[in-house]
Amino acid sequence: MDNTTTIDAKSSVKPPVSSVGVVGWARANLFNSWFNSILTLLTLLLLWKVIPPFVNWAFIDSLWWSTSAECKAAEGACWSIIPAKYRYILFGLYPYDSQWRPFLAIIILIGLLFYSRNRAHWKKSLAYAWLVGLILMGLLLRGGILGLASVESTLWGGLPLTLLLSVFGLTAAYPLGVLLALGRQSEMPAIKSICIIYIEMIRGVPLITLLFMSSIVFPLFLPEGVSINAILRAQVAIIMFTAAYIAEVVRGGLQGMATGQFEAAESLGLNYYQTMRLVILPQALKIVIPPTVSQLISALKDTSLVVIIALYDLLKTTQTTLSDPDWMGFSSEAYIFVALIYFACCYFMSSYSRRLEEELDTGL
């Protein structure tokens, strides 16, 4: 009894004002040593120098719904370029009246992505949903059936092209990457060296050389009269590039498998194909889900490189908009807009990847 009363008395004494509330928090986190105090003050000074002018430029002096002439006279940011040009930036040269089709395709893609976020939905039916969704998106873009006017792939552009190149790129690169990783682990010297040469060669060169290869060297490889359109060629280059990186990611997972797993599978009498399909790959691929999502993020960012071979992806349509004499010089506004789109996509994926990492962490 005595003990409890003393504890009660002690706990009822309030801590000093300087260690609780805002003041206490600031003392613990901002001014806990003379060095940190100076650092905080310097940082605050820097922020004071940077943020008010930026807010002025971006929000207070800015124009949102004006013409380009009004913009050129104004001091602040000219966000009007976005309402005026967003259709072109997002959809490129796609016929204006049919732009609801790529829009719908993007909605389907986003819907599928959101649905796949929940791991409880990871069943076989989800794979079929993706298959149907991807085909539907392709049909929507291409048209030519159900009374939809057919649209040449040379007219595809903007955000749909960016998403198409990255999502299809990763989907097709994934099985190829798994095969390459298995080949690299193989005991057959010829297969192993072919896979190693491929992976190391692709990882050693920048993506842009592969894109050059696809745009100017590849047509020379084909027999006379055969030609493949530019988007598909770029897509193949991106797939080949991504596959090499996926292969390394998967190899990490394969090397993380205990030898006992192989031995147990073998002692059950499973052959190589069964061992891999039933025992090794399901475990190995699960380990590497988070780095695979990071690969998807890189793939999305890397697709912007197709600008250099003159495909009209999101970045190229922005650049073209900026070469319009009416809107020349408002590059910061347009680039910030596009950067926000990229940031939103990548941030969504990277925070998802972090969450998955926590969920899948089995503590092994």
Partner: protein, 398 residues
Amino acid sequence: MQSAPESPSQAAPSRAIPFYNDPKKRAILFQIVTVLMLGLLAYYLLSNTLANLEKQSIATGIGFLQKEAAFEIGESAIEYSAADTYGRALVVGFLNTLIVSFIGIIITIIMGTVVGIARLSSNWLVSKLAGIYIEVLQDIPVLLQLFFWYAFFYNILPGPRQALSPIMGVFLSNRGLVFAVPAAHPVHKYMAIATLVACVAIYIIRRWARARQARTGQPFPVFRVSLALLIGFPLLTWVLGGAPTAMNVPVFSGFNFKGGRNISPEFTALLLGLILYTAAYVAEVVRAGIQSVNKGQSEAAMSMGLKPGLVLNLVILPQALRVIIPPLTSQMLNLTKNSSLAVAIGYPDFVSVAGTTINQTGQAIEGVALMMIVYLTLSLLTSAFMNWYNKKTKLVER
């Protein structure tokens, strides 16, 4: 299918196993088929290519390297004019790639380390700002960042007449960055030699100090002596050379700055974009490396009576660096590979010069092959270094 042999005696080699059930023979067959198929594909592509080249009458081989290039290059480290050969133009491009990568790598490491440490700071504001920096810059494509900085130089900065001057002698305008440099003087050459001599001396002192400590147990203040040598030698040379203080300050005259050192907007934008992008990744690498060292390590070292400087030098850094160096090297390699994006903003790096060469000669295969070989060599050299380093610092476990 997989029925067990009825009895051990019947599994004797008396019955020959068909070759398709013998894993060894099957493997050989499988490999032969794969190699053959690849060979056939290569042959098919090659024959198509040769036919196409002949039809379009494009020359093959690397003879074009000897021909006159007939195009100018904006900036070059060695002397170059349009009358020089393609070979020399490509060397200029290669040197430009090396220059931008080298400067970029040095600044990126410094900046990435600072941001990485800031991320771990106990100061809430600094840590959060570093976190925002890392998250935002990692999630925006580097090419977009390059375009942004390039447009920043061309559209937002004023012309040379109203150039911004953040620090005395440094001018920022849409013609790039101009800053004052010491006026040319013969003593500079001797100062460079003095620095080299100091480096050699430091190396010798280090070895001697280590041997002495192993022999007698007496430590030697290597760091302080090295620093004194590194600063003292060139300084002494400079004083002996008459201590020239004349500066070559840029002055605005006519349409542009005269004098000083001028760095083109292309180069500055490329460097800025690459550094800011890669530093975000390096910061994460550094943070992970520092966090990987168990807190008990520094506590143990301190309880043995080591001073804070020695704790860092002898206990923390050797362990953190083992974690940091491999991903750091791959980030440096990424920076070098990303420098090829220079072609999009008009800085004459190797890919850009090779691209112009391809356009003029039509020899696409040779040009693209050259690009690949150059980058492949760089990355193979890096991974060779990595393997050597990993072997050297590998934990020797009992």
